[in-house]
C-alpha cells in the first residue's frame, strides 16, 4: 500500500479547496441561505405542513442532497480532469501507485469536502429553522455514502470528459433535474398518480427519501431500499472505475 501516495493526492486536493474557499464553501452557504429565505420563510409560510413537518424543515434534506450531489461530482471530476488537461497526469501514471490508491486519494478528498459542506449547510439550516434529527447516525451514513458514491461518479466523469463542456454537462443537465424532480422540495404525494410512478424511476428520490427519514422518520420509500440503492450505485461506480484503469480508458494509450 502506497500510503504516502494516497496522502499526497488527498492533501493536494484538500489544499485546492483552501485556495478556492469562496467557490467551495461560501457560495453554497449563500445559495442555501437564499433557499431558506425564499422557500422557507417567504413561500413556506403560506404552505401547510408537509406530512407533519413545516415546509422550511421539510426541504432541509433535499437541500443537503442537492449540494452533496453537485459538489461531490464537481470536486472529483475537476480533481482528475485538471491534471489531464494541463498534462501533470504523467506523474501519477508513472508513479508506484495502484488504481485503488489513486481513487482513494481523489474520491476521498472530494467526499470529505462534500461531507464538510453538507454539515455546514445543516448548520446554516439550523439558523433559519428549528432543526430535529431523529437518527443522526443514519443521517451521517447517508451523507457519507452519497458523498463517496457521487464523488466516484465525478471521478468517472473527469476521466471521460475531454473538454470543459462535457465536464459541466452532466451536473447541469442530468443531476440538477433529477434532484429537483426527486422530491427534494415536495412530497411525491402532492403529484398525480402517473407522475408518482414516474418519480419512482428517479434514483435521487431514494437518496432524498432516506435522508429525510433520518431527520423526521417520514419517507417515500422504505429506508432500507434507500440504503440498498446507494450501496448498489456505489458498487456500479467502483466497477466502472476498475474497468477504466484496467483498460487505461482515456488515461494510458
Amino acid at each position: 500500500m502506497n500510503f504516502y501516495g494516497v496522502m499526497a493526492i488527498y492533501k493536494f486536493e484538500m489544499a485546492r479547496t483552501g485556495r478556492t474557499l469562496i467557490q467551495s464553501i461560501v457560495a453554497p452557504v449563500i445559495t442555501t441561505s437564499l433557499y431558506f429565505i425564499v422557500f422557507g420563510a417567504a413561500i413556506g409560510s403560506r404552505i401547510q405542513q408537509v406530512e407533519g413537518v413545516s415546509y422550511g424543515a421539510f426541504i432541509v434534506p433535499g437541500l443537503i442532497m442537492l449540494n452533496l450531489l453537485m459538489n461531490s461530482i464537481s470536486n472529483a471530476s475537476f480533481g482528475i480532469y485538471f491534471p489531464k488537461f494541463v498534462g501533470t497526469v504523467y506523474e501519477m501514471l508513472s508513479a508506484p501507485i495502484s488504481t485503488f490508491e489513486v481513487v482513494l486519494g481523489y474520491v476521498g478528498a472530494a467526499a470529505t469536502k462534500s461531507v464538510l459542506l453538507g454539515l455546514i449547510i445543516l448548520a446554516t439550516a439550523a439558523v433559519f429553522i428549528d432543526l430535529q434529527i431523529a437518527h443522526p447516525v443514519i443521517m451521517m451514513l447517508f451523507i457519507v455514502l452519497t458523498a463517496a458514491s457521487f464523488s466516484l461518479l465525478g471521478f468517472i466523469l473527469g476521466i471521460w470528459a475531454d473538454n470543459f463542456e462535457k465536464l459541466s454537462v452532466v451536473p447541469m443537465l442530468l443531476v440538477t433535474p433529477l434532484v429537483f424532480l426527486g422530491g427534494s422540495f415536495y412530497s411525491t404525494d402532492m403529484l398525480p398518480p402517473f407522475w408518482q410512478t414516474v418519480t419512482l424511476f428517479n434514483p435521487v428520490l431514494y437518496l432524498v427519501s432516506g435522508l429525510r427519514w433520518s431527520f423526521y422518520e417520514i419517507a417515500e420509500v422504505n429506508v432500507l431500499v434507500s440504503l440498498a440503492s446507494i450501496v448498489a450505485f456505489m458498487l456500479v461506480c467502483l466497477g466502472i472505475v476498475y474497468y477504466m484503469f484496467r483498460t487505461g480508458y482515456k488515461l494510458r494509450v
Binding site: 494541463v86 506523474e91 508513472s94 501507485i97
Partner: protein
Amino acid sequence: MDVAAEPILSIRNLNKTYADGFQALKDINLDIHKGEIIALLGPNGAGKTTLISAICGIVRPSSGQVTVAGFDIVKDFRKTRSLIGLVPQELTTDAFESVWSTLAFSRGLFGKAPDAAHLEEVLRALSLWDKKDKKILTLSGGMKRRLMIAKALSHQPSILFLDEPTAGVDVSLRKDMWNIVNELKDEEVTIILTTHYIEEAEEIADRIGIINNGELILVQEKASLMSKLGKKQLHLDLAAGIDSIPEQLSPYKLELTSEGNRLIYTFDTQSEHTGITALLDDLNLAGIRFRDLNTTQRSLEDIFVNLVNESSEENTGAPV
C-alpha cells in the same frame, strides 16, 4: 560501469502499436547498465518519447518485456516505478502550487516519507531554493525546467529519464544541467536522455542509441562509434589542377574533385599509421604541389544523418 553485472534496465522485443494502427516502436532490444549515461537520438516522431513512456508506465506496450533491476514493469510496477524518475519534454506544472508543495507532492506520490532535508538539497542543487515559496506560475521557463528535474529527483531515483531536457533552454542553464547530470553520474544514477543537440550527446553520453521510424538502428559506445565511423579527411588544394590521379598514388585511394583542383585523403585517426607523411612525400615525388591543406572530422551529426537516411531508404526505398 560494470557491464558484466545484470543490466539495471533490460528491454526485450518491445513493440507499441497505437489504436490507429501506427507502429511507434518496432522490436526494441536494449540493455542499460547501472551508472551509464545513454543518449537516444532520433528525428521528431522517431519513437523516443514512446519508448520512455512505455518504460515509465505512461504508455502500454503492445508486446515485449521490460525489466528494471530485474523486476517486470507490469507485474512489479511498484518496485520498478519507485526506481525511476521522469523529466518529460513538456513543461507540465500545477501553476498555482508553490515550488515546495509540488516537490513534496511528487515525493509522496512515489511512496517516500517526507524528507525536508533532501528536498532542500535538491532545490539548492538546482538553484531553486530561494524560489521555494513562490507559485510556479511566477517562474521563468528555465526555472520551470529546473523544477521538472527537481520533481523527478525528489524521490531519489536510481534511473533518470530526461526527455529533451534542454529544449528551449539558454546556454548557461544548459551547462548547469549537464553539470547536474555529471554529479548524478558520480552518484551512480543511470541516465537515459533524448536530445536534439547532437554535440551534447557527443560530450556527455557513454553510449549512443539512434532511433528512426520506431526502430533502434544502432546502439554503440560513443568512443567506438566515433572511431569506427568518425574518419578524418585531409583536403589538399592543388597549386595546379590535374586530370587524373597518378598511378603511384593509387594505394592511398585518393578522391579527385570534379574541378581537378582538390585531392581528398580519408584516414583513420585511431590507427597507428595515418599514412599522411608518406602521402606528402609521394605527392612531392609525383610533382604535385599544393597551396593549402586542412583536415575535417566527421561529426556525430554526420554519422547520425547518414544512418537515419540509410534506415529511411531501407524502409521506403527512397532517400529522405
